[in-house]
């Protein structure tokens, strides 16, 4: 045990437990297929606390949600969990005090009486500060498993090109992928989700440090080699390819912020024309792209949109994308 929990046992009231802690509980009682019977599931790696810390430590709460640690996780399992490919596999990132990552299987999440955990050793602690960023990240992963927006199957084909571009090598290590890594969030809104003829908007949200608000653009800015780092003599805004727009964004990250704002606009236009428009169909008849700074996105826009999270999908015909 490490992370300051060596030799520490779970208190009788669980007041020393946190979300993300691994408790050395050797077995977990799970409901079985047969009514009113429970089976004992061996948990050699222990169980991970899923309940929020504030609930776990609350004396009025008598139960705690836990999930078994996936034993003997191989590289592929760890990688898939880290990337969120299996949302029910909760990935706990290594920390300075817990150098090995851990995966909990939330498919087997179950609520147990606190007294079942009391006296068991706390074998690992992945959240050192109850209110820090790692705590938020663990809570986000737990929440993601149960709160993803159910995009209708019919709209998935329209994301296929965007997804392929992000998946291939150019998307992961090339200009496009590197630019996507500068994006804070990709959000989608629709005029309505329930029937064909949908009008969608993709919000590409970028931090203000990388994309200034539209009102902040230098009024004297002009498209020229003097203002855009790496621009060739014959290049015009409209003539840039998606990859070239990405290349110029990367080249201008430390340059003229007004140039960067214009390049982000080109990026949005190219994503729309190259990756989304060709996939339009009767289900999605229009798909606009709006690249905007995080200071420009309104709470209303946020409320009317959903974060784009395309975990293992299939379209309405059952064809995997």
């Amino acid at each position: 045990m490490s992370g300051g929990t060596h030799g520490v046992l779970v208190a009788d009231d669980c007041s020393n437990l946190r979300q993300g802690d691994v408790v050395g509980l050797p077995h977990l009682m799970l409901p079985s297929d047969i009514d009113a019977e429970a089976v004992s599931m061996p948990t050699p790696g222990g169980v991970v606390v899923l309940s929020q810390t504030c609930d776990v430590v609350q004396p009025s709460k008598t139960r705690c949600m836990v999930a078994p640690v996936v034993p003997d996780t191989d590289k592929a399992t760890l990688s898939a969990a880290r990337k969120g490919q299996k949302p029910l596999h909760l990935y706990l990132e290594p920390t300075a005090s817990e150098p090995s990552p851990c995966v909990a299987d939330m498919e087997y999440a179950v609520s147990v009486p606190k007294k079942v955990l009391a006296g068991s050793p706390i074998v690992a602690r992945y959240v050192e500060q109850a209110s820090g960023k790692p705590a938020r990240a663990v809570a986000w992963r737990v929440g993601r498993a149960f709160s993803r927006f159910p995009f209708p199957d019919e709209v998935y084909p329209v994301f296929a090109r965007l997804r392929r571009q992000a998946q291939d090598k150019a998307g992961s290590t090339g200009n496009f992928g590197r630019v996507l890594d500068l994006v804070e969030d990709l959000r989608v809104s629709a005029d309505q989700w329930s029937s064909p003829g949908r009008v969608l908007t993709l919000y590409v949200v970028v931090a203000e440090e990388r994309l200034i608000a539209i009102d902040d653009i230098d009024p004297r800015w002009r498209w020229s080699k003097d203002r855009v780092v790496g621009l060739r003599d014959d290049e015009t805004e409209s003539g840039l390819s998606l990859d070239r727009a990405c290349e110029l964004i990367l080249a201008n990250l430390d340059g003229d912020e007004s140039s960067l704002a214009h390049l982000w606009r080109v990026f949005g236009a190219k994503v729309q024309s190259n990756l989304l428009a060709p996939a339009l169909n009767d289900e999605v008849v229009s798909f606009d792209v709006l690249v905007l700074s995080d200071t420009e996105m309104t709470f209303r826009q946020h409320q009317h949109s959903e974060s784009l999270d395309l975990e293992v999908l299939s379209d309405s015909t059952g064809t995997s994308l």
Binding site: G84, D181, L186, I212, D218, E257, L308, L310
Partner: protein
């Protein structure tokens, strides 16, 4: 967050004029002290003051309405008007700078509604009052004689980060609470 190098600032000083640079340096240093977030700059006002003694100097320690040399400021009434209420200062800042209410709000890390409320007499937190005086002092020495020209000077991004965004960056937004365990790319590349 975009950082600003000493070299960048030096280039900017050359292109915008010394008094402006001094006032700007003061405003940034002060805002950094108030809100944190900006690195310490490797230059001070003292050597510049000696070298350019004939130009108008903004001295944060000078009595109101006077320059660093103690001479009444020929353009006084703007930065040194202690009789101005915080609401008047913010209104003046907005008018002189040519910035929108939203942009003025971002200089303070508040909403445009807060700015509107301030202008209409709602109370300001002490740190905002202090900041309004400093930013107004900066705006008053910007090159240009019209709001449009001063706005252009604030948003001039030829050297990278504009003065406006350097001021915005000096705000302390507080700790970011909304974090995602997966990047946007990871969420669509699965």
């Amino acid at each position: 967050m975009t950082s600003v190098s000493g070299a960048t600032l030096a280039r900017r000083q050359n292109s915008t004029g010394v008094p402006f640079a001094i006032a700007f340096g003061f405003a940034l240093a002060s805002s950094s002290a108030v809100g944190g977030g900006l690195p310490a700059f490797p230059w001070t006002t003292t050597p510049v003051r000696a070298e350019f003694s004939s130009v108008r100097i903004f001295d944060p320690n000078a009595p109101a309405g006077r320059t660093g040399s103690g001479v009444p400021d020929p353009q006084a009434g703007l930065p040194n008007d202690t009789s101005a209420s915080p609401a008047q200062r913010v209104a003046e800042l907005r008018e002189l700078s040519g910035l929108t209410t939203d942009q003025v709000g971002r200089l303070f890390g508040v909403s445009r509604r807060s700015v509107h409320n301030w202008i209409n007499g709602n109370s300001m937190a002490p740190q905002h009052e202090e900041r309004s005086a400093k930013i107004l002092a900066l705006v008053q020495v910007l090159p240009g004689s019209t709001p449009d020209e001063r706005r252009a000077a604030l948003l001039d991004s030829r050297q990278g980060t504009s003065l406006f965004h350097q001021l915005v960056a000096a705000n302390n937004d507080g700790e970011r609470l909304q974090v995602a365990g997966l990047s946007a790319r990871e969420r669509i590349a699965q």
